[in-house]
Symmetry: C2
Subunit: 267 residues, 2 copies
């Protein structure tokens, strides 16, 4: 199975240009025969908003919007794609990751950990991150800053994700390395599709990557160049949770001792 990560530079206010850039990436992914494709966060809108109007004009309904329709069409040839979209919904605007497979809109995850000024523009999601079944394997979805909360990848893995699909717009220098730890501690593949470029005063770090369950980098893209990176993987390798011949990453857990994780701390 060919797992791909698309790296590109959406730009605020250039909604038409963002659609063109998405088309170019989908074409490259098509040429490279990608089976499961991850694209960056907020690819229909860009990231560094200055006004609510900019957000609202870029936001789209899922799956009726322009980017959604392109993604849906791309997925028709027995493929899965997850993409970060600025989503307009009845109850607000969300920083979402939409999953399309075989011509269907499978699910939308609304980011639960908002980063920096995203708090001005988006409502936080209020649902556990999802795992979707596709072609006999299970794929978890998280978005960008979710990486900093080990609970998210853990939950996805506990729900059976073999591969974590991770649209991102990264600016801090930590995530790519942290995803290696996420792979190892959960015994999963991860695919982080990051954006590139400088938008207003913010520079994104590229280096989109794919890791395997032993934390090895299967591919890592450049800091600056758009395109599609990929790796041939066997998702079922992630079903083996034995870190050693006597240590199972999940059954060795001690959930009865972890209750503090779900408690709201005192003020």
């Amino acid at each position: 199975m060919k797992l791909g990560v698309g790296q590109m530079a959406p730009r605020v206010t250039e909604n038409e240009g963002n659609i063109a850039r998405l088309k170019a990436i989908l074409k490259e992914a098509d040429e490279k025969d990608i089976d499961v494709l991850v694209l960056p966060e907020l690819l229909n809108s860009g990231y560094v908003f200055e006004t609510e109007e900019e957000v609202e004009e870029a936001a789209e309904s899922i799956p009726e919007g322009r980017a959604s329709k392109l993604l849906l069409a791309w997925s028709e040839k027995d493929r899965l794609v997850v993409a970060g979209l600025c989503e307009r919904a009845d109850n607000g605007i969300f920083n979402s990751a939409a999953v399309f497979a075989k011509g269907n809109h499978v699910t939308t995850y609304r980011k639960i950990h908002l980063f920096q000024n995203e708090k001005d523009w988006f409502q936080p999601g209020n649902e556990e991150p999802p795992v979707v079944s596709y072609d006999g394997h299970r794929y978890g979805v998280m978005v960008c800053f979710d990486w900093a909360f080990p609970e998210v990848a853990r939950i996805l893995a506990l729900k059976g994700a073999e591969v974590i699909l991770h649209p991102a717009n990264l600016v801090l220098p930590y995530c790519q390395r942290a995803m290696i730890t996420r792979s190892i501690e959960n015994g999963v593949f991860t695919a982080t599709a990051n954006r590139i470029g400088t938008e207003r005063d913010v520079t994104f770090t590229g280096n989109s990557q794919i890791t395997n369950p032993r934390g090895e980098l299967l591919t890592q893209m450049s800091e600056e160049k758009a395109g599609v990176g990929w790796a041939e993987i066997k998702p079922e390798e992630a079903l083996d949770k034995m870190m050693t011949d006597r240590n199972h990453l999940f059954t060795d857990r001690r959930p009865s001792l972890y209750s503090r994780i779900t408690q709201v701390p005192d003020d």
Copy 2:
């Protein structure tokens, strides 16, 4: 404050030699004016047991045992030390980390995630890992393979640990890098004291290290040489949980969405 990690090579069946090695490390830590010292796991016993007799002969009561008494004495000069000890208790033998400060036995943590053949020799601990207050700061304790379970460092940080003290006998290549992620995701210092040497067929990886809350390596020792590494730190830097000017590592968490973490999975 001078935070130290002691690196040494305890050996199975050489109980007298292990005491001598401990004395040498404590002397070096004394000469280096270490304030808070972390020593490796199972330093009174070695690691690669072949018989129960080897474990039983090495195990000691805490704080009555020989290594405990040396540690207790070292801690008298307004210092804290945590050391991995093979512990004999009324209800079994444990892979423990004992904390001594200012001439007192403060607490003992019994490792809750046993690695490989440790499952043959030790009972697992059944209590949440502890945080101790010392000189106005808070120190969390975990042992070796606990690193692989992000819940442990998370719990320690949520309990207020500014510094995680981490005795270890590491054989896998993952932990040192993972502790960088533990630092970043929890905004804490970590001090991993690893052992060195080859015992029977097992080689330990050394590279004892200290990280700061931004995941920077403040010191990292060699793979093979015994001694005491250290870093001058201000533990209170770990009280600042702002990863950005608008992202607090703890209040940004969504504990109501993390309940799966504490559920026992179905068979």
